[in-house]
């Protein structure tokens, strides 16, 4: 009997923790984009997307960094002056846990900054960069 108990506890732990990992809303969002993109994401490409000055968007917002500052760990500022919570997951655990919200801000900000919608790969790269930050 005892031996089963010893085996059962770690086994349960593995099952529970992997279930928790798989169902994390953030990884579900990344998986959602991965399925659409059909390829792996790169934090380095996400960093590029974040830091680059883009053409094609609205002149007021040429880059993500216009509002979010050069580091995702910083508190940003909207053009009107309202603070924006840091983008980096290490500084803001609430980030990227609500797909509807994530989609809303990608739609708006990609159009503002790039003048077009972002592709699933760009979204996945961006999130991967922010999750690693």
């Amino acid at each position: 009997m005892k031996i089963y108990q010893y085996l059962l506890a770690p086994a349960l732990l593995v099952v529970i923790s992997s279930a928790a990992f798989a169902s994390s809303p953030r990884s579900q969002i990344v998986d959602f984009y991965r399925q659409q993109a059909g390829e792996d994401f790169s934090a380095e490409r996400g960093k590029q997307l974040f830091s680059t000055r883009h053409d094609g968007g609205k002149p007021e917002t040429p880059s993500c960094t216009t509002c979010h500052t050069s580091s995702p760990k910083n508190t940003g500022k909207t053009r009107v002056g309202k603070p924006i919570a840091p983008m980096a997951v290490s500084r803001n655990a609430d980030r990227y846990t609500d797909l509807k919200k994530v989609e809303k801000w990608f739609r708006r900000n990609c159009r503002s900054v790039l003048g077009r919608e972002c592709s699933p790969r760009e979204k996945g790269d961006f999130l991967t960069f922010m999750i690693n930050q």
Binding site: K58, E60, V80, G81, K82, K104, R108, R111
Partner: protein, 142 residues
């Protein structure tokens, strides 16, 4: 005791003198409006603009003063309905789009805002930078 606390709370929360003042506006109490519009800027009091101004603004959120602020259709129409209902009376002719260009706004701010205060605020749309009670409808603390 409970009644006493309630009475104290009511007195504390009633902005009696301010309501009579021409520079106070009823604060917005619509949670969707506050959440969505308040994400980027103060949820401006609907009474600041005429109903037909809000209609124009809400019909063009994709080009919102230099940014895409689009929302899904349901949320957009919900906020639009709320704003139009609480707005100032419709105006004839071209409705104003910027609160900061309204005649009374310009008159109130023209001479008394220091350049330091302007720099701190960043833009004239950043009410709360100087008016700390702006979101609750107080603008007399300048």
């Amino acid at each position: 005791m409970k009644k006493l606390l309630l009475a104290a709370a009511i007195i504390a929360l009633t902005p009696l003198p301010a309501m009579a003042d021409r520079t106070s506006y009823k604060p917005s109490n619509n949670p969707t409006f506050k959440k969505e519009c308040g994400a980027c800027h103060m949820a401006f009091q609907p009474g600041f603009l005429p109903a037909n101004s809000w209609e124009l603004i809400m019909d063009d959120l994709g080009n919102h003063f230099g940014e895409d602020a689009s929302l899904d259709d349901e949320t957009t129409s919900l906020i639009k309905q709320y704003l139009v209902k609480k707005a100032a009376r419709r105006v004839s002719g071209e409705p104003p789009l910027r609160i900061t260009r309204l005649r009374w706004f310009v008159r109130e701010h023209n001479h008394e805002v220091s350049s330091r205060a302007k720099k701190k605020a960043g833009t004239m749309s950043n009410c709360t930078s100087c008016h700390r009670g702006a979101e609750r409808g107080y603008f007399d603390d300048d």
